[in-house]
Amino acid sequence: STVVLVFQAPISKEFNGGDSSQEFKFCVKPGDRIRYGEALGRWHSS
């Protein structure tokens, strides 16, 4: 069985001096084992 997740998330801002601190970033890579509750990706406010 397989699960596909499709979602909207913040992408980099254009008007903040190139700061991409609010950009959503995956914190896994293909082939990684992951367990439910562990972070797939994060974004942070500057």
Binding site: S1, T2, V3, V4, L5, V6, F7, Q8, A9, P10, I11, S12, K13, E14, F15, N16, Q22, E23, F24, F26, V28, K29, P30, G31, D32, R33, I34, R35, Y36, G37, E38, A39, L40, G41, R42, W43, H44, S45
Partner: protein, 367 residues
């Protein structure tokens, strides 16, 4: 030793069934012989599969990416009654196992598919059937939920196959290198699926603005960048559309949890085929994820749109929704199938189905 002893006994005492001639001794040896041969064959097949899995993982670690390559075996799968096989498998695995045998069967399963039996909420003899054991819950605290409000958590235990950003309505998700499928086909015609990023929307609205006017605007932004004229919408983060594909192996925990605080508005059930979903199948079967039976849940979270597609396979064909227990999947069906997806809008009944991050949502069942 048992078979040898039995064989010797048969030789010493010819069966009375054949008038004491001893002709039956060969037949009595055939049955256990066939059983042993079947077990050996299953063991050999399992060992071969484990060897191939290991080789695949080694190649993946080396960075080798597999390409789409349809083959004869994949074509042959189309001819098999996979739904009937799946339902039959479900029937067999729902049979009650004697209490004394349960721990042995489940430990064997755990060894074969690398399951961590220490995490099971109940002791092994409490699971009446393999089907019950397969959808076992976990001990409390086994899976701490990441509490960061600016993170999205995995909804399942599994292996991350692919992830990335999608662009526009015709966005394609790569099944495997050399073959992709459309996100619209996967989720169904969804009016709430964002077709452009916020950035593109802004560009579309300002489509009539000339390049000179655009550069003037940029200058104004730079020159007047003071708190008095600062427009908060300009620095508000824009949003893109992302995807992530996670594969659950047979030994994995098979319940699905909410990846975020999520308000589910619509459920769609696509009654499709039930091809296997292993690594080999992804390389050899076209449109695997959009042909297989699946349940799609769609709604909103703090950053906008979110949808989750739970896709069934031959061995794990039915999907049970805890937010809608009456939904039945993997039902017997006619040979010809071109039915549209069956849809239920939760929003009509109120505000949708609200879930907290980590809440239990669904389970994959055997058969």
């Amino acid at each position: 030793t048992h078979f040898t002893k039995k064989f010797k006994t048969s030789n010493a005492r010819p069966s009375s069934l054949n008038g004491g001639t001893g002709k039956f001794q060969g037949d009595s040896f055939l049955v256990p012989g066939a059983t042993v041969a079947t077990l050996l064959m299953l063991g050999a097949l399992h060992a071969r599969r484990m060897y191939q899995d290991k080789k695949t993982e080694e190649l993946r670690d080396k960075g080798v990416e597999f390409e789409f390559q349809p083959d004869v075996k994949a074509s042959f799968l189309r001819l098999l009654p996979l739904r009937s096989i799946s339902r039959c498998w479900g029937y067999l695995t729902s049979m009650e196992i004697p209490v004394w045998l349960r721990p042995h069967v489940y430990r064997a399963w755990g060894r074969a598919f690398h399951s961590n039996l220490e995490e099971a909420a109940l002791s092994l003899d409490k699971y009446a059937s393999l089907k019950d054991f397969f959808v076992r819950t976990l001990k409390e605290g086994s899976r701490p939920i990441d509490a960061d409000p600016q993170c999205l958590v995995s909804p399942v235990d599994g292996t991350v196959l692919r992830f990335g950003e999608l662009n526009g309505a015709g966005a394609m998700i790569e099944q495997v290198k050399g073959f992709s499928y459309s996100v619209f086909s996967l989720l169904g015609a969804s009016p709430s699926l964002p077709t452009t990023t916020d950035d593109n929307v802004q560009e579309e609205h300002s489509g009539s603005i000339t390049t000179t006017e655009k550069s003037k605007k940029s200058w104004w932004r730079v020159s007047l960048a003071s708190p008095k004229v600062w427009d908060p919408t300009l620095s508000r983060p824009q949003r893109g559309l992302f995807y992530c594909v996670v594969y659950l192996k047979p030994g994995d925990y098979h319940r699905v949890h909410s990846p975020a605080d999520w308000n589910i508005l619509v459920r769609r059930h696509f009654s499709g085929r039930l091809y296997p979903l292993n690594e080999r199948a992804t390389r050899t079967i076209r449109n695997l994820y959009i042909e297989n039976e699946r349940v799609v849940l769609e709604g909103l979270w703090q950053e906008g749109f979110m949808a989750l597609a739970a896709i069934g396979a031959t061995n794990i064909g039915s999907i049970e929704l805890f937010i809608e227990p009456e939904l039945q999947t993997n039902k017997p069906r006619k040979l010809l199938h071109s039915e549209p997806p069956e849809e239920r809008v939760y929003e009509c009944e109120g505000v949708g189905r609200m879930l907290k991050k980590g809440d239990e949502l669904a389970a994959f069942n055997m058969g």
